[in-house]
């Protein structure tokens, strides 16, 4: 057991190997830092984290080091004394901040980072109010095309080298580098080789100032107007924990949220930029029924009873010919409710797993310069491009013991053995779509098709009922990632138009009262399905709950 003294306050740091920044954090003291990041190597070059350090000997005497030291580079040991508020440490921090601001353009009013900028925050907390430099600032030209999705505002850079280290250590692609020396130093790329790897967007999050900006978000919104919500990325089965930033129900950006059980500190650009369909104007906005071959709006109050009745009739005629298709984009709660509704009609009703989009193979990082993956793996973009296949499968397994594939159902439909089909789809757009034209033609032979989806598809062109689905950003629930990690999803935006969340529609179909409340349903689910039992007691917390003993084989950093 090691005890460190932070500004005179003793803190037990246990047996963890911590540096002084982390040790001080345990005591609730912020040591300002730029270049240090827990996932990257230590370079101790920004010199923002200078503190006074000493040692308390067992006999109680105190020996302080004569100079300030960088906290990021100094390991915390038993008896280490950290002083962050002495005159010497404060002066060193002030000097460093004054240096950082010498050539900084102070263009906060037009800077994307303003409001969440560490240079602003630390200057406010630790710096001086004025600069003593009266000479011209050095203003190198910007590099708007340093990457397809990132722009470099060269003069804002404080040369912390986080981005450079990220591309070398995590993505391994090493596009970014420093050129020139001294105060003329700049971040740059090799000509013609822009920073376009699939993890490139992370350098924007890593940048403590507004030097590297996401072109997707550039000049879109002031960050203090954004509502930030905890969420889970739905783009692949890694299930990265994210922050979802939205305002007035428009999603503006996604940022990774640290989760050691899921993905670590980062997220990929596929997921980061893959949210645009949420704001798409092509989405279904109201429930529609087909009348005389044309889709016409029908209020939910009429729609839900109509569908319920139609499926009850079909089940009464021949229960085995009623089919529900549950897409792997449903939350566990939604899958549970729709399964409960359909199986409630008759136990003969068949439930199938919707198409699971697989694109290529798992993509691991770091890579070498030739794009070949190298060990140890620090980040994985999975080929399985859906967030909740495992959760939906477990529901299906519970309700009917076996998992029927989508292709089987489509074949049955082509052979005329399906009389009614409920497609709980909710698929985001993807090249080729979730259902092919040929499959759609086969499904067209089904006399009753309900398509519950986000966007038009070959099926919605002929479906008898088309229900608007809510995207993952607009609902709450639980996703189970590839490794069996249950993570909670929260409302990040209110769905547009007359869209109701899928779960709410299923509740209505079940004739259950009230509004959807994920935590209550999760409890019910946990009581009924043994696989989900660990979720009964508490909420899922920041990092989620691992439902399987097998730890994530994905490298977590």
């Amino acid at each position: 057991m090691a005890t460190v003294y932070v500004n005179g306050k003793p803190v037990d740091i246990g047996n963890e190997k911590l540096n002084l920044i982390q040790a001080a954090q345990k005591a609730g003291v912020l040591i300002p830092h730029y270049c240090w990041h827990p996932a990257l190597t230590v370079v101790a070059s920004c010199r923002m984290c200078l503190v006074e350090v000493g040692e308390r000997k067992p006999d109680g005497s105190v020996a302080m080091q004569p100079k300030v030291v960088p906290a990021c580079q100094t390991p915390a040991k038993d008896g280490t004394i950290i002083v962050t508020n002495s005159a010497k440490a404060v002066f060193a921090q002030q000097q460093t901040l004054e240096g950082l601001l010498l050539n900084h353009p102070l263009d906060c009013p037009v800077c994307d980072k303003a409001g969440e900028c560490l240079l602003q925050d630390y200057t406010y907390d630790f710096g001086r109010a004025t600069s003593r430099m009266i000479d011209d600032k050095f203003a190198p030209p910007n590099k708007p095309n340093i990457g397809a999705d990132i722009a470099l505002f060269t003069d804002r850079c404080i040369k912390c080298s986080r981005c450079v280290r990220f591309t070398r250590e995590i993505s391994g692609t090493a596009e970014l580098m420093f050129v020139a020396r001294g105060e003329h130093e700049e971040i740059d790329i090799f000509p013609g080789e822009p920073c376009n790897n699939k993890l490139a967007g992370n350098v924007v999050d890593l940048c403590p100032v507004g030097a590297l900006c996401s072109k997707d978000f550039l000049y879109k919104h002031r960050v203090w107007n954004l509502k930030t919500q905890k969420s889970v990325c739905a783009d692949c089965s890694t299930g990265c924990s994210i922050w979802l930033d939205a305002n007035k129900s428009i999603v503006y950006r996604l940022r990774p949220r640290y989760n050691p059980q899921a993905q670590g500190h980062f997220m990929c650009d596929d997921g980061r930029l893959g949210y645009h369909y949420v704001n798409s104007i092509e989405r279904f906005l109201r429930p529609m029924a087909r009348r005389d071959g044309r889709l016409t709006p029908l209020p939910w109050t009429e729609m839900v009873p109509a569908i319920r009745r139609a499926f009850q009739n079909a089940a009464q005629k021949e229960a085995a010919s009623v089919v529900g298709v549950l897409s792997p984009f449903l939350t566990c709660e939604e899958a549970y409710l729709i399964a409960k509704f359909l199986k409630g009609l008759s136990n003969q009703v068949r439930l199938a797993l919707g198409p699971v989009p697989i694109v290529g193979e798992d993509d691991t990082y770091p890579k070498d310069r030739h794009g070949r993956p190298i060990q140890p793996v620090k980040f994985t973009i999975r080929a399985e491009k859906c967030p909740n296949r495992r959760g939906v499968e477990e529901i299906l397994r519970h309700f009917q013991g076996e998992i029927i594939s989508f292709n089987d159902v489509v074949r049955d439909a082509a052979e005329g053995r399906v009389q009614a089909m409920y497609l709980a789809a909710g698929y985001p757009p993807r090249p080729g779509g979730w259902v092919s034209e040929m499959q759609a033609q086969m499904i067209q032979r089904v006399p009753l098709v309900v398509c519950h989806d986000l966007l038009p598809s070959p099926v919605s062109n002929f479906a008898h009922y088309v229900l608007p689905s809510a995207s993952w950003a607009e609902k709450e629930g639980t996703f189970i990632n590839h490794a069996g990690l249950a993570q909670a999803l929260y409302w990040g935006a209110v769905p547009a138009g007359e869209i109701r969340t899928d779960g709410q529609v299923f509740l209505d179909l079940l004739e259950r009262r009230g509004l959807l409340h994920a935590a209550t349903l999760r409890k019910e689910l946990a009581a009924e399905v043994p696989y989900f039992a660990p979720l009964a007691e508490r909420d899922l917390g920041e990092y989620g709950i691992l439902l399987e003993k097998k730890t994530a084989e994905a490298g977590v950093n």
Partner: protein, 443 residues
């Protein structure tokens, strides 16, 4: 005191041939035979340690002690890096050694590698030293042909390869960890310590970094013994327990406003005045000296009144300089403006700061901007305070940077302001606004 007989420059002053046959005829590689055949590596280290040899590169760290920091019984490989990135302004002693007597240097390298059990030595040459590169390479080829390099040197179980590596012209690559990074093919950014190079250096293996002149001294220490070496120079100051003495011959480079610039070999402890008047031929044009830089510009400035200071490892420190440095004396005469001197120094460091640590990267640039403005007649008296404060707060002495470049950048500035404050103030007050005094354009 009898006239000092040059040791390191012995063959150079009489313009002897630099090649192997001539060097051997003059008793060359006697020390190597002695070392390899009669002594164990540990004994060689002991002799060097006993000689009190201190590194000639600038910091003056005891060489034998440095060698003992290597981990014992390391399975290897251990690397030897020879620092020939002689980039301190006005320093040119390594160049003379490499170009005129390469085998003296190579013998020292081989002996040092024998002592440290290093299997590979890299000579990191500054790019500008093209001739040194060619001469050394030719000398190395000669050694390979005579089985003094390669496998089983002198029939013993001792293998060594020496590679020359040319830098790309960066001052910072003379810093030992910057040198190692550059050698590995990376950007020459000094590393954070610990781990020190002796534990984890080049290619993450134990590494010793020594200066060319240091290894040249090793040759003679093994040849003539530690006692001979200790008979030259200055014993430690009994009043200063941290002083370990300054022994041995030293190459002093004299440049600037003197009649006879050049490189002379003298025992450590010669005074600056003797160096300038006797060996440099006095200040040029019959003028008086205003001051001098005792050992490369990063060490600070001595005024004329301080010229009686002995130039040993402890001497310059007594008059407020950082240390002996490379013992490259640059004299400036009374006509020189101290503002120009400091401006030029700032220009050098702003150009050479590697840009890693904030205080140095921004501080050197800021000091240059202030000095540039001062020379354009826009100086303010408070600028002197800023210069002093900035100079005081960068470097490893206050703990704000990784390497010592920032100490060297700040030291001469605050030194000059302290010693020549009246002249600075007079310059600022008397400046005509708007005049331009470009020495050379800033980069």
């Amino acid at each position: 005191m009898a006239e000092f007989e040059p040791v390191l420059l012995r063959r150079i002053v009489r313009k002897a041939s630099p090649w192997l046959d001539a060097y051997r005829a003059d008793g060359g590689y006697r020390a190597l035979h002695k070392g390899v055949h009669e002594m164990t590596p540990a004994q060689v280290v002991e002799v060097v340690k006993a000689s009190g040899l201190r590194g000639r590169g600038g910091a003056g760290f005891p060489t034998g002690l440095k060698w003992t920091f290597l981990p014992k019984d390391h399975p290897g490989p251990i690397y030897m890096c020879i620092n020939a990135d002689e980039s301190e302004p006005c320093t040119f002693n390594n160049r003379i050694l490499m170009e005129e007597d390469p085998h003296q240097v190579l013998e020292g390298i081989i002996l040092s590698c024998y002592a440290t059990r290093a299997s590979t030595a890299y000579v990191y040459l500054r790019y500008e030293y093209g001739r040194s590169y060619r001469v050394l390479q030719q000398a190395i080829d000669e050694l390979y042909n005579h089985n003094l390099l390669g496998r089983n040197i002198l029939g013993k179980d001792f293998h060594l390869d020496i590679y020359l590596h040319r830098g790309a012209g960066a001052y910072i690559c003379g810093e030992e960890t910057g040198l190692i990074e550059s050698l590995e093919g990376k950007r020459g950014w000094p590393r954070i310590k610990p781990p020190f190079p002796a534990v984890e250096g080049a290619f993450r293996k134990p590494t010793v970094v020594n200066n060319i002149e240091t290894v040249a001294c090793v040759t003679h220490i093994i040849d003539r013994g530690a006692d001979w070496f200790k008979s030259i120079g200055v014993p430690p100051d009994p009043k200063n327990p941290r002083d370990v003495g300054s022994y041995g011959p030293k190459l002093y480079c004299i440049s600037g406003h003197v009649n006879k610039p050049g490189c002379v070999e003298l025992p450590l402890g010669v005074t600056l005045r003797e160096l300038v008047d006797k060996h440099g031929g006095g200040v040029w044009k019959g003028r008086k000296a205003k001051g001098a830089i005792p050992g490369g510009i990063s060490m600070g400035i001595m005024t004329e009144a301080e010229f009686d200071t002995p130039l040993d490892f402890a001497g310059p420190g007594k008059v407020g300089c950082l240390g002996l440095g490379t013992a490259a004396v640059t004299v400036f005469d009374e006509e020189t403006s101290i503002v120009d001197v400091v401006y030029n120094i700032c220009r050098f460091f702003a150009h050479e700061s590697c840009g890693q640590c904030t205080p140095c990267r921004e501080g050197t640039g800021w000091m240059l901007k202030i000095m540039d403005r001062m020379r354009r007649g826009q100086g303010r008296l408070e600028d002197l305070k800023i210069l002093e404060e900035v100079g005081d707060n960068m470097g490893i002495i206050p703990g704000t940077t990784i390497c010592g470049l920032a100490d060297g950048a700040g030291w001469p500035v605050k030194n000059a302001i302290r010693k020549f404050r009246a002249e600075f103030e007079q310059y600022i007050r008397g400046a005509k606004k708007g005049r331009s005094l470009e020495l050379v354009k800033t980069h």
